[in-house]
Symmetry: C2
Subunit: 336 residues, 2 copies
């Protein structure tokens, strides 16, 4: 039997349960959970904001733990290894996307907390391709959030060929943005942090921003006109997108990883004049996630975390819901 923190209805609360996970499939591995991040998507799923949540529901998709069992077909992983597991828990391995290394774009990819139980548990399973061994130098108590928030912002840097010579911007200095600043700074870029909160200014600089712009100041925005090669939007609110598009350099890109509520009204003439692009991307592939882990280990990049015990998951959810998380929450497993 597995132990888990489970909600029987939308908005919780989570209660401790036990459930029978059935037999391990030959392509799967079983992870003894040590830590699991709490991501805003866990809260959205708990509240059934996207209408896809199945109850009983066990959140958790930023897992770090120890391999306890590997299926008969799994040859590249061994019991005892420390691994991480993120939003995806299985890909088909045979579609064009999987066959070209883009398992994250597999149309039938299984998601760790959609229709199955996630990592707020003593144990969790996944298909072997999504269990990623951790480089030794990473702090296991902090790395969990990299498997969702981290890879979400690292992936487009790789996918869209961001260069160390680029001037890049990060919109929204929160759970995603505070990791983006670190990655892009160590990537060698000139990094502009956009925030409407003066309280985050010093912290953005500490995290690697070259400078900080108050996005509510039209003069500051105008000074950046046509200068950003890549602008990463991690916010999930509607903003004055025309003002941001004007900051994009010729051949530059406005890129979304935050799901903003309303369609972005794109003025086509502005895009044409300077050959600008707008795009979006989800989490990265296993290969890109492994690159991120190696890069993070080499550059001492880690999310800024607050810590709870897994049995305190309801307190942690309340803290996140109140907008107080600075910047990611990690639960330590005390169930098992």
């Amino acid at each position: 039997m597995f132990k888990a923190m489970c909600a029987t209805q939308a908005k919780g609360p989570l209660k401790s349960i036990e459930f029978d996970p059935g037999r391990l499939r030959p392509n799967q591995v079983q992870i003894k959970v040590r830590y699991c991040g709490l991501c805003h998507s866990d809260l959205s799923m708990l509240n059934n904001d996207w209408g896809i949540t199945q109850f009983p529901f066990v959140p958790g998709h930023e897992v770090v733990g120890t391999l306890e069992e590997v299926g008969g077909q799994v040859k590249h992983l061994k019991v005892g290894q420390t691994v991480g597991l993120g939003w995806f828990s299985q890909s088909c391995m045979t579609c064009r996307q999987c066959m070209t290394g883009h398992h994250n774009l597999c149309a039938t990819a299984e998601q760790t907390i959609v229709g199955r139980h996630g990592g707020f548990a003593d144990r969790v399973r996944c298909s072997a391709e999504w269990a990623l061994p951790l480089p030794e130098r990473l702090d296991v108590s902090k790395v969990g959030p990299m498997f969702c928030g981290g890879i979400t912002v690292f992936n487009p840097i790789v996918q869209f060929g961001v260069l160390p010579t680029h001037r890049v911007g990060v919109v929204g200095i929160g759970g995603l943005g505070h990791m983006a600043l670190q990655f892009l700074s160590k990537w060698g870029c000139d990094v502009i942090a956009f925030t409407s909160s003066d309280s985050k200014r010093d912290e953005a600089i500490k995290l690697g921003a070259t400078s900080v712009v108050n996005s509510r100041n039209p003069d500051d925005m105008k000074k950046l006109a046509g200068s950003l090669d890549f602008l990463l939007v991690t916010a999930n609110v509607d903003l004055d997108w025309n003002a941001y598009i004007d900051t994009i350099a010729p051949k530059g890109r406005l890129h979304f990883v935050g799901v903003v509520p309303n369609p972005v009204p794109v003025p086509v003439f502005n895009m044409i004049l300077a050959q600008r692009s707008l795009s979006g991307s989800p989490l990265g592939s296993p290969a890109t996630t492994a690159q991120m882990l190696e890069f993070a280990a080499r550059h001492h990049i880690a999310p800024v975390t607050e810590n709870y015990k897994m049995t305190q998951a309801n307190d942690a959810l309340e803290h996140l819901h109140a907008g107080k998380a600075r910047y990611r929450i990690v639960l330590e497993n005390d169930l098992g």
Copy 2:
């Protein structure tokens, strides 16, 4: 003195005039015009649709002619060469865009019919970098429209790395689209033509489309779901963009060269899920234009043209305004 067809007020008519062009600048060349295409942008400028037209106004930015004089600084061109001239007539040559081969994105680029007289004339001038020698095999009586309409659709194929293995779509089978079909077909792509006009179906196939889709048929559109690596919009009307975005493959691109009237409402979640991009581009650089000319010569690509004399420019404009042009109009110089 130069002879030209000139409008003294918005909406014309064009009348024959003579004007003194002043001295040739050392970086310029002088072209004796043989042919000049009539582009929809000439009509928009004549009508002052964009509010930037200066009168007296001489249209014409799809020039083919013979070099008659070259300035003292011009070393790579010779009197007697056949050259073409398009929308741009000068770039600064020293900004970052010019210095990296993107003279078409130079912020201070001069435009052939903006604040200066264009190619509806017996002679026209430009800075030497924008006078492009024609490969011998091209038909001088037809190639004019390639310098605006042609390069507008060829440029993004190069800029965004369209591959012969890609499935691509072309929206709008008109002045631009009928050239895009030819380029993409010879590029080796699987080419889908989107049109709401059944009358253009056979012609689209002849021009190189693999298949033709009636964009007003939701079932046809649904069959293409998630399959297009590159979708080129040459139309300049508002369409059901959500339906088109749904046809874009993972990592694919919806690309605009047509200026559609209203902002395109982009659903960010759809872009994120499949790592889709939306973009726009203007005409190409001199280097890309030269590539296009070589490619067109090698593959016998040419616009489908209707022919008028330059002194019949008003009739030609009326024909274009009525939406009857199939697909590009070329004026033969009978002024000089």
